[in-house]
Every structure is written in C-alpha cells, then in structure tokens.
C-alpha cells in the first residue's frame, strides 16, 4: 500500500504557545486513520498545516514521497472543524461552486454535485438555501463539498460532531466507500467506540507530540499494563493482585504489569475467594488513550 501522506516531526508555535512539537502521521492510500488526542493536542493544527492553511516552523509534509505543494493539495478534500458554508447559497449551487473552484468543468461539477447531494441524502433540499438547513444537514453539505472534486486524500476534522445516528451512519458509509476505492482518509474524533468500529489504524497525539501509532491491537498489546477482571461469588474479598491497582469505576478490575504471570494471578485470586469468572487482557482503546495522554 503506497504512502499517500507522511507528516514528519512537525513543529508549530503561535507566539509563546507551542501547538505542535513533534507530530508524525502516516496515511497510506486505501486506508483510514483515526487521529486521536485530547482537546488542544494539536489535531486541527496538524490538519490545517497539511492543507497549507498554516506555515509550520519545522518538519516536513510529504505527498507520495515528495514535499507537498499546491498541485498535490488540489487532490485533498477537507472538512474543517469549524464548519463553513455560504448561508445564502443553495445546496446544489454550493457544492457545484466548490467543484468548479477545484478545477472541474461547469457541467461535470453540476452533475457531480447532483450525485453527491443525493448520496448524502439531501436531494429533496437540493434548491434550499443553506441557512434553511439544520446543523446536521449543513454538515452533510460540508461532506459533499469535500468530496465533489474526487480527492485522493480526505482530511476530516471531527466529522461526527453534532450528527444524529442516521447522519453518523451516512458519514461512516461514505468514508468506508472512499477507502474501498483507494482514497486515503484521516479523521479526528473524540468518539473512540466509533473510531474502533470504523478502523484499526490510529495515531494518538497529546501536547503536540505523537504518542503512539499503529493498529488498535498493536497498541493494546504494547501497553505496559494488562487488565485483570475478577467476578466473585458472594462478597468480594479485600484482595489486590501484587504490583496491581484497582481500576476506578470498575468493580473487581485491576491494572497489573504486562509481564505478570497470568495463571499465577488467577490462582492467587482463587485463593482469596470464590471466583465466578475471570478475564485477563490488554486494555481497551479508551484505557490506552488515557494511559498515553494522561
């Protein structure tokens, strides 16, 4: 799989604020990458740098192996976190306008706009003004705008924020279709369950640094912790595994070092009380996330 986009050691400061100090991100063609991180981590700043909306202080952005330029950027579809549409344009007109700006001939832009307006489920509102649409429907238009020129990289900044379940499903479907047709997709999100449903590949950043990157399974396995969860019959005994700590908010669950001997821990648990069920596994994505950024 070819590497469509590679972001290397990106640095960016705004005056005294260090927004990025070492962000790495790889998005191969035909793959979807979840770009995760807490508020203020630098996700939007990274994305805006990819689009050339910001000048960065150091680092590089490569497109198919070469430094990215305005020609390559024409093949990016972008959905900014702060949504922006012309309130007084009509839905179809709006999508077609951005198609033409991206270089499509007028008639091709018009027919593509038709197709995308239908695909995002807005055919009935084709000639409505943007300002007459609900926020969620405006977001569908925003998606159509980012796709009308058939980009080979999609950069979506929190595409699911503010969407109802039906719109989330449409958005997910479209993203999956795009990946299947060879498009590289990177999206940011705070909804980790949604991310796991959509893709195996994630990059996690915090405080302007890439903390981890890989498949969800890899990240889980590379964690220095494991989760030991024990269900007792009757009252839980006052027991904590050696080197472990109780997980707040989950009764009977403990974090233990990854190099613990699982069978020994289970034997110790059984000695402390009557065990109904027991599990020993790597932490889930949300735990990993907290471990990495906390």
């Amino acid at each position: 799989m070819s590497e469509r986009l590679r972001v290397k050691a990106l640095e960016k400061r705004f005056g005294d604020i260090v927004a990025l100090e070492g962000v790495d991100l790889v998005v191969p063609a035909g793959q979807m990458v979840g770009f995760l991180g807490p508020n203020g981590a630098g996700k939007s700043t990274t994305m805006r740098s990819i689009l050339g909306l910001l000048s960065v202080d150091a680092g590089s952005i490569l497109w198919d192996g070469d430094p990215i330029g305005s020609d390559a950027r024409r093949h990016i579809g972008y959905m900014p976190q702060e949504r922006g549409l012309y309130q007084r344009m009509k839905v179809h007109e709006h999508v077609a306008y951005f198609g033409r700006l991206a270089g499509l001939d007028a008639d091709i832009a018009a027919s593509r706009a038709d197709a995308w307006v239908e695909r995002v489920g807005l055919s009935e509102r084709r000639d409505a003004l943007i300002q007459e649409l609900s926020v969620g429907n405006q977001q569908r238009v925003q998606l159509a705008v980012s796709l009308v020129h058939e980009p080979s990289l999609l950069v979506l900044d929190e595409p699911f924020a503010g969407l109802d379940p039906v719109a989330v499903a449409t958005m997910s479907e479209v993203m999956t279709e795009q990946v299947a047709s060879g498009v590289a997709v990177v999206f940011s999100s705070h909804q980790l369950d949604l991310v796991q449903d959509l893709t195996n590949h994630v990059t996690i950043i915090a405080a302007g640094n890439t903390r981890a990157t890989g498949t969800v399974a890899e990240l889980r396995n590379s964690s220095p912790h494991r989760i030991l969860a024990v269900q007792w019959q009757g009252d839980a005994p006052d027991w904590v595994p050696p080197g472990g700590a109780a997980l707040p908010g989950r009764a009977g669950a403990f974090t233990v070092p990854a190099d613990s001997d699982a069978s020994m821990l289970i034997a110790m648990a059984a000695a402390a009380g009557t065990v109904a069920s027991v599990s020993y596994e790597p932490p889930g994505l949300d735990d990993i996330f907290l471990e990495l950024v906390g």
């Binding site: 689009l51 909306l53 000048s55 960065v56 900014p80 922006g84 700006l101 980012s146």
Partner: protein
C-alpha cells in the same frame, strides 16, 4: 484550474448571490425610480409655474375677448398667462380693489391700476395698445390688415455673451455634483459589501475550504471584480435611466465640457471602486466579527469625507482652488475631484493625465500589497489584527509553506 478562471468563478458567485438579494434589487429599483422621477418632475412643473397669471379687464361694448387674449399671450411669450374679461365702467374700481383683475383698459385709452403700476405688465399692455392703434391707422391709410401685421412681425435678434452664461454654469455644477455624489456614495456602499463578504467568509470556516482550493489573492481579486461589476451595473442602470428621462422630457443643452466629462467620470468611478473596494476588503480581513467593522473603517472615511468637502467647493464655488488641485493628484481623492473639475471645465489636460496615471499606479501597488497582506490576515482568528502586525507578517518570509 488557472488563477484567472478561478477569479472569474469567485466574481460570478459574488454577482449572482448579491444580485438576487431583495435588498440589492429594491435599492436598484428605487434609485432608478428617483433618477427618472427628477428630470420628469423638472420637465412637468416649471412651465406652468413660471407663468404669472394675469387678469385683464377691458371696458367697451364690442370687445373680442378671445382675440385680445391670444394677442397678449403671443406678446407675453413665457412671462404671463392672460385671461381677459369685459367690464362695465362702473365695475372697474370694485374689480381692482378686490383683486379680481390686475389692470383694466378704459376708453381713452387709460390703464387703471389698483395702487401701483406693474412695469412689465404695463409695458406689455402698452405694446398691445400701440400695436392695435398702428394697425387701425394703417387700415385708415388704406393698407390691408395683413400688410400691417406683416410690418409688425417680430425681428429675429441674436445673442452673444462675453462671459460664460449662468445657465451653463448651473448645468456644469449639477453634473459636477452628481458625479461627486456618485464618487462618494458608490465606493462606500459597495466597499461595505466587499467588507461584509470578507467577514462572512472569515467568521465561518468557509475560508479554510476556499483556501484549500485557491490562493488568497485570487479570492481577493475575484471579490473585487464581482462586486465592482455589480457597482458598475447599478451606476449604469441609474445613469442610463436619468439620461433617457432627460432626453424624453426636456431638451437639455449639454455644455461642451460634458463630452470630455463622461469618459473621465466613467474612469473615475472605476478607479474609485478599484482603490476603495480593495481597501475595504483588506479592512474586512483584519477583523473576525461584523461588530468590529465600524472601528476599522475610520481610516477610509477620512479621504472620502475630505474629498467630498473639497468637491462641494469645487462644484459650486471656485473650481480651481488650491486644495482641490492638490487633492486631484492624491489617488484616494482623485476619483472624487477629477470629474468635478472636468465638469466645471477648470482643469488642464496635463492634470487629468498625471492624476489618472497616479491613480492607476496606486491601484496596482495597493492590489499587490493587499494580496500579500490578505494571505496572513485572512486566516488569523480571534482578536482584531493591528496594521503593524499585519505588515510585519507580510514581510516575514514563510518557512515551509
């Protein structure tokens, strides 16, 4: 897609989206209505208003009231409108006292007035009486009445002025004033539109999507082109309306200066739009919210107001005064003063050429500087950007981008 076709796309969007707003349509229609109504009103009113109505009494048995009325109206041309009544000799005093008549011709002939003579009116009635007695005497001397009338037919007399007639000064001042108002109002109205259009894009995320496709200066260029085109259309519609109304209702003699005036006026409107739309758009890019518009607009109002006051003096007073002459060469005020001084025919050809060249140079420089500033200011979020920060950012070369 080339930068040029993107500029046209941006321009076309500005035109279609703005032209279909109710506000734009209503304002254009209203302006057109006013532009047509004024010449029509001028044409309809003055004729009837200028004529002074006069009631003339005549004492005598067989008086042809209609014939005399006709004769008097012919003599009075466009000064008086006569209605003639026949009076008995004992009615004269009462009629004069209660103002039912202004003057009475009594046998003799004697002109009876109320308490004072109206010299113009007296002269006219006097002329009529003399004319009629000449005809009578001619007939007595054996001439046919038509022959006498022929002898009395008016002589054509020409006119020559050693100074410009007042009427031409009035027309020139009117032209100058209309051009001044246009040059003052149009850049403000459409400059505001340009500014709001920039703020609209900047306040929402739309600018980010735009700039992922096109360069800031392309966006700026398209916006100025589109809104400028709208402005030119509106001015043209209104002017053509006025012209048509004038030609259809009144026969206006345009002074000779009008022919050099029209092209200069057109160029000034274009130049004024070029320079002020760019400035307003740039100001719009310094702010992120419409509420901040008023405070950044101040620097643009200074030259506009200055040019307007100087233009007023040049339009109605001394068109050649020193301040007007200087401001004609300052690109920000050229569009206001140049057409005024041309309309007043108070400018040397070299002044026209030099001021237009300076204006053109200023626009080219401004558009280039604005294009660069725009790259920085457009994506800056949050607080208002000071000019200093903006200029510094412009001069600092970008690293990776």
């Amino acid at each position: 897609m080339s930068g040029r076709s993107q500029i046209l796309e941006v321009a076309r969007r500005e035109v279609t989206v703005r032209a279909r707003t109710k506000a734009f349509q209503v304002i254009t229609a209203l302006l057109l209505l006013i532009a047509i109504a004024i010449p029509v009103a001028i044409a309809v009113w003055p004729e009837s208003d200028d004529l002074e109505e006069v009631d003339l009494g005549i004492v005598g048995a067989d008086v042809d009231v209609d014939a005399i009325e006709e004769q008097l109206d012919a003599l009075a041309v466009d000064r008086f409108d006569f209605s003639v009544v026949q009076l008995a000799s004992d009615e004269v005093d009462a009629a004069l006292i209660d103002d039912t008549v202004d003057v009475v011709v009594e046998p003799g002939p004697v002109l009876a007035w109320k308490d004072e003579v109206d010299p113009d009116l007296g002269f006219l009635v006097d002329s009529l009486l003399r004319q009629n007695s000449v005809i009578e005497r001619g007939v007595e001397a054996g001439l046919a009445p038509e022959e006498v009338a022929g002898l009395l037919s008016p002589v054509e007399i020409g006119e020559r002025f050693v100074e410009e007639p007042d009427e031409d000064v009035a027309v020139a001042s009117a032209l100058a004033f209309v051009s001044l108002m246009t040059a003052f109002a149009v850049p403000q109205v459409f400059g505001n539109l340009a500014m709001m259009s920039v703020v609209e894009e900047k306040a929402s995320g739309v600018v980010e999507v735009l700039l992922s496709h096109i360069r800031p200066r392309t966006l700026l260029g398209g916006k100025i082109l589109g809104i400028g085109f709208l402005a030119v259309c509106q001015v043209a519609i209104v002017l053509l309306g006025t012209l048509a109304a004038l030609l259809l209702t009144a026969d206006v003699d345009l002074p000779d200066s009008a022919w050099s005036f029209l092209p200069i006026f057109a160029v000034s409107v274009l130049g004024g739009l070029g320079i002020y739309l760019t400035l307003f758009a740039l100001l719009g890019s310094l702010i992120s919210r419409q509420e901040d518009a008023a405070q950044v607009m101040v620097p643009v109002f200074v030259p506009l107001m200055g040019g307007y006051f100087a233009g007023q003096i040049a339009a109605f007073g001394d068109a050649d005064n020193l301040v007007s002459r200087i401001l004609t060469f300052v690109p920000l005020t050229t569009p206001l003063l140049l057409p005024v001084r041309v309309a007043r025919d108070a400018i040397a050809p070299w002044e026209i050429v030099v001021s237009l060249v300076l204006l053109l140079v200023a626009i080219v420089v401004l558009v280039r500087v604005a294009g660069r500033l725009y790259e920085f200011t457009l994506l800056h979020k949050g607080t208002r950007i000071g000019w200093g920060t903006a200029v510094k950012a412009m001069l600092r070369p970008d690293s990776v981008r």
